[in-house]
């Protein structure tokens, strides 16, 4: 399977603390993306990191990618109660066709709970 592992499956922290979620994968990737899903809703794209990048920032989000270890991490700094959600990494690999984009393979997600 090309699905990887996300770790931890669940994380509970206090507001103001940092949250770190990890993602590992098995095959080579074009890029890796992180998504967020609020309970019972669709996914929202957070950040994309390309295979030739090592670190990327967006607001309170920091994503790292280590292609030698086939792993990525998402750090949310100074967490807020509103950050409570499930977070998914998605590996982009291969191509749908010559003219289309690539397909994504999603992990099972990390459920983050930020307590006020």
């Amino acid at each position: 399977s090309q699905q990887g592992e996300e770790d931890p499956q669940a994380l509970s922290i206090q507001e103001g603390e940092n949250a770190t979620m990890n993602c590992s994968y098995k095959t080579s990737i074009n890029n890796l993306q992180w998504y967020r899903q609020n309970s019972g809703r669709g996914l929202v794209h957070l950040i994309l990191i390309r295979s030739n990048e090592r670190e990327k920032h967006s607001g309170r989000l920091r994503v790292t990618l280590d292609t030698s270890k086939k792993s990525s991490s998402l750090l949310i700094t100074a967490s807020r109660a509103a950050d409570t959600a499930s977070y998914f990494c998605a590996r982009e690999h291969g191509h749908l066709s010559e003219t289309s984009g690539s397909r994504l393979t999603f992990g099972e997600g990390t459920q983050l709970t930020v307590n006020p």
Partner: protein, 115 residues
Amino acid sequence: DVKVTQSSRYLVKRTGEKVFLECVQDMDHENMFWYRQDPGLGLRLIYFSYDVKMKEKGDIPEGYSVSREKKERFSLILESASTNQTSMYLCASSLSASASSYEQYFGPGTRLTVT
């Protein structure tokens, strides 16, 4: 902003019924996707389409079919619904390979219950 809409948020159908799930996007995206999401299994790709009238099987196409007659609309069809198709169904769209970013935009999901 990109908007992906799905025809129903909640749907209850009986075993054996034919079920249509509709998805519409308003950003002229080439690619469209159908996933199902189940606890402990994450998102699994059912079918995708990279052009009008084009479709490709994903990881779990059995029991499903799709239709894409217009660029903005991608329909998922359960020919004869079964209880093991009770799930959350998510539609997504994205730009083509010529774009610099392949992020997918998701609809709000349809929670289907088959009794």
